[in-house]
Symmetry: C2
Subunit: 200 residues, 2 copies
Amino acid sequence: MSSIPNSATKTDLVTAYRRDQILQAARGRFMAGGLKGTTMNQIAHAAGVAKGTVYTYFTSKDAILNDLLSDDLGRLRETTLPAIAADEPLPDRLRAFFRAEVAFYEQGRDFIELCQLELGREPRRKARRQLGDVFAAQQAAWTVTLIGFGIPEDAAARRARAIVSLAYGLAVQRMRGWLDGDAESDIEAAARLAWKGAVS
Amino acid sequence: MSSIPNSATKTDLVTAYRRDQILQAARGRFMAGGLKGTTMNQIAHAAGVAKGTVYTYFTSKDAILNDLLSDDLGRLRETTLPAIAADEPLPDRLRAFFRAEVAFYEQGRDFIELCQLELGREPRRKARRQLGDVFAAQQAAWTVTLIGFGIPEDAAARRARAIVSLAYGLAVQRMRGWLDGDAESDIEAAARLAWKGAVS
DNA sequence: TAATCAAATGACCGTCCGGTCAGTTGACTA
DNA sequence: TAGTCAACTGACCGGACGGTCATTTGATTA
């Protein structure tokens, strides 16, 4: 047999497996101890490999973080934006939007934000802007939606901002354990407040 | 003259001055580079003293952070709670509340939160709980207020939570530069949304 | 089985940082 | 002016961490 039948594919599979193994371990450690508070040894140990092996798959600690960041930003975008423009009654869309945002942060994905102070100036600015882009997209989508409900453009934009802020505040406060009730009733209350406040 | 006329007072003044000098420097550096990203040399240099001098006034880096934390938590409490129970029309109180919260975070006081991942497990839990206490107090105050407007207790509590979340989300998103408009119109929009949503 | 080599390992290196402390400074006293 | 001492200084120490690389491992091939 040729020495390269499908070996590229197989190698790729192993590589993908190891990368994922390391990324999951790193996410856990970063969330538990922060960026600077987590050592490469801890990440390697959590992934069940030696430190040197980590450097076979990632060039540096920052490279690992970058992968996690873009992964999570994509997920936030994918889960929240479709809810806004869905073909459903507005109250349902509000609920779905709040639910998606709460779920995202409740899964602990937010170390995107919590790690920011530990990054250097430039990576921090970049990560912050990317997260801001997601919120800007949410706001734009809500603005369009509210305009569709006959609300003047200016007012729609301002109220859209308030909705996005409410979703964000709700999600983060829940994640931090500052809101104790069950998620669904918080989501319901937020959706109701947004509904009454935005379209009346 | 006796050698202790008011020397205690004078020494205290100098001590207070130096402590403040160092605290301000530390706040600036922590906000720029995070807890672990800031060295004692940087703090000392920013305060215009040598590293050893810092240790004359603070026992450790963590001690500096602790002072800043309790300082800021007190300020958040003092500026937001009175607004809720003020003797004013409800929309004005909502505006004042949102304004106070936005101002707090816009002054960059929030490194309380941003530093959390960098603290050890226990200090982190403690700091987080203390901040949670302030939000719980805000929520309780709003609940009482809404009950005063004839809203049933359960609904009042849920809506109070939504108001607190909205204020928090608004403040943090503004501070991060994710909301570009002027603060006053965002505050107005949030107050309106909360007003229509909470008491109708 | 012997040869081959990519993957995995962990001891090691240079650097950096929190905290210490022996020495210096300068304001105040007698 | 000489003496005193608290405030201040910064060189230094011990330890930790990110990243490297010579060596080992074990799967695959011939």
